[in-house]
Amino acid sequence: MALSQDARLIQKLQSGDLEALGQLYDAYRLPVYRTALAITRDPDAAEDILQEVFLRLNTYVDRVDTSLPLAPWLYRIAVNLSYTWVTRLNKWRVPLENFIDKLIAPARHNPEPVAEQNDDLRRMQAAIEQLPLNQRIVIVLYYLNDLSLQEMADILGCPVGTVKSRLHYARENLRRLLEDGPSGLEVQYEFT
C-alpha cells in the first residue's frame, strides 16, 4: 500500500471514520498476524495481538506521524505485545506443562499432514522455537518480514549493532541446534 494512501486513511481515522480503520486492517492484517504467530506460535494469541494492535492504532492515531510508513509502527506494537505474551506464558507455565506442550506442539501448530512437510523444515521450525525470545524476534523480522537492520533497530528500539549481534547469535544457535540438538544453545552476551 502506498504511503500517501496510508496517510489519507490515517487522517480519515483521526476524524473518526471507522471505515478507514477497516481498510487499514485489511491492508496490514496478514503481515501483523503472521509476525505475531511466528513469535508466539499460538494462533489464538496471534489473533488477540492482531486485534489489540489495531485497537491501539485507533487509540493513538493522533500521535501517528503520517509522513512515516505505518508498517514499522504496527510491527513495533505487535512485537512488544508478542514479547509480553511469551514472557508471561513462560513465567507461569510449570515445567511439566512445558514438556507436554513441546510433545504435542507439532500436532497442534501444524494441522497439515506431517508427511507433507519436509523433515528439514520441521527441524528448523522446532529449532527456531527453542531460540531465546530476543533472537527469535530478530530472526522473524529479518527472514519473514524482510526488514532491513535499520528498520529492525527502529522497531526494537536498540542500536543496529545489537540487532546484528542478535542475528549472528541466532544463526549460530540454529546451526548448533540442527547439528547437536537442544544442548547446542549458546548464551548471548550483549555489549552494544
Binding site: 480503520l21 492484517r29 503472521r34 508498517a71 523444515l121 521450525q125 527456531i128 519473514l144 532491513s148
Partner: protein, 98 residues
C-alpha cells in the same frame, strides 16, 4: 516493506530459515471474527466518547449584548438565599421577636 523480497539468502542455513518460517505461517490467517470484533469495539468506544462531548453554546449566546442581559446567579447563592429565608420564616423577623 517487502522491498527486500528479492534478497538472496547467503547460504543454505539462511535459505532453510526463511523457507521454514514462511512454511510455518503460509496458509494461516486470522478469522473474519477478529475484524468484526475490532470494528464493533471501536464503534462502541466512539459512540461512548460522543455521549461525553460537552454541548456547544449556540452562537447567538456568545454575543456581548446577550451576555449583558443574562443575569447569571451562581447556584450556591440561590441556595444560601433560600436557606436564609426558611430560617427567618421559622423564627420570625427581628422586629417580631423584639
Amino acid at each position: 516493506m517487502n522491498s527486500r523480497d528479492r534478497r538472496e539468502p547467503v547460504n543454505e542455513l539462511e535459505a532453510l530459515i526463511r523457507q521454514s518460517l514462511r512454511a510455518g505461517v503460509a496458509r494461516k490467517q486470522p478469522s473474519s471474527e477478529v475484524r468484526r470484533r475490532l470494528l464493533q469495539q471501536v464503534g462502541e468506544r466512539m459512540r461512548r466518547r460522543l455521549l461525553w462531548l460537552p454541548i456547544s453554546t449556540p452562537f447567538w449566546m456568545t454575543e456581548p449584548q446577550v451576555q449583558e442581559v443574562m443575569v447569571v446567579t451562581p447556584p450556591w447563592q440561590s441556595l444560601l438565599y433560600l436557606s436564609a429565608m426558611r430560617t427567618v420564616r421559622s423564627i420570625g423577623f427581628p422586629s417580631q421577636i423584639l
